[in-house]
Subunit: 202 residues, 2 copies
């Protein structure tokens, strides 16, 4: 069933996980209807999403703990992966200090930057490495996932370098449409664009 | 036509704008087909989205400059709004220093924090204000839009306070499902969840 889940559906899994984890400890069972109401979503959609991971029981619903585990497994959280932050400026530094990645089985092992003043230092306990000898360093750190936090004008060239050095997937914060070869995966977070969409909904 | 555009379609407008702006200056005209191919999207979808804002010309396509203006207008970029960053930690500070909001007609005027050591200082030239007397301060700064960068455990209570003090829309970085009254608008950016989804697509 793995390949039947769309990206849009995958994106909803963290929302379910966060909601289920936020409930009081004494909530042992929950129905798809209750989840749908709490999240303001359609029940059919929720039931369909959850059917990819778990089997609910008639009248009882899902065992909450089991459902969280199943959703986390479906999202790949058990397959721990190392990631690097590329660009150790303000945003990169903030992400290095953020503890939430570990909840999804993602281990931020290092930052990369080309600022000589930063290379060799640590930010939030993580080493800042240089961009020379990148392939060797990424291999040593066993990193295949990168979070791109460099200024927009450098984003494409840094992405090219990362992909040529073994990175397979990039979370891109630069407001730039990255051109990447087939097989590479990119997701974009454009903070300003998100704020603009929000403003247009006011 | 304004209300016919879905949130999903609105989210695509910044993607078109960024792409159109990235083209060489001598590209004066562009077709919906060319945009669709460059962005890896379906042409029907692109044509439908653009039809909300502009009229293409047969065989010639869209005048690029006019199309950018029309898309920006549709997204509300001409209606400049003041916004505040709430929580002046690592992420908040990084966003205060980010210059990209102005491209969408969003003016970050101040940060708010409850850390006495930060209140009264400036970050990236923007004042850090306290959370006391919040309503008066937001009114003085004419802020109705907030970017929430506080730790997850405080997100709901800070959101409640913001909404009670006149904020109408929140861009929320905390991995928490905010409960907000009808009429308030929330968008969520969960960075760790985005990275988890990316990893599951590798």
């Amino acid at each position: 069933m793995k390949n039947e889940m769309t990206v849009t559906a995958l994106q909803r899994l963290p929302v379910y996980i966060n909601y289920l984890k936020s409930l009081d400890e004494d909530v042992k069972y929950i129905s798809s209807g209750a989840i749908a109401r709490a999240l303001g979503m359609g029940e059919v959609l929720v039931r369909k999403d959850l059917a990819f991971t778990s089997q609910g029981r008639t009248r009882v619903g899902y065992m909450r703990g089991e459902l969280i585990s199943a959703l986390e497994k479906r999202l790949g959280c058990n397959d721990v992966k190392n990631a690097a932050i590329v660009g150790a400026g303000g945003l990169g530094s903030a992400l290095l200090a953020y503890g939430g990645f570990v909840n999804y089985g993602i281990n931020i092992v290092a930052a990369y930057d080309n600022d000589a003043a930063k290379i060799g230092t640590q930010i939030a306990g993580k080493p800042v490495c240089g961009m020379d000898d990148l392939q060797k360093s990424l291999e040593e750190n066993n990193v295949t996932l990168a979070v791109l936090c460099v200024p927009a004008k450098y984003a494409q060239q840094v992405a090219d370098k990362l992909l040529s050095c073994g990175i397979k997937a990039i979370l891109n914060f630069a407001p730039v449409l990255l051109q990447v070869p087939q097989g590479a995966v990119v997701r974009n977070i454009d903070v300003a664009a998100n704020l603009a969409v929000l403003r247009s909904l006011m």
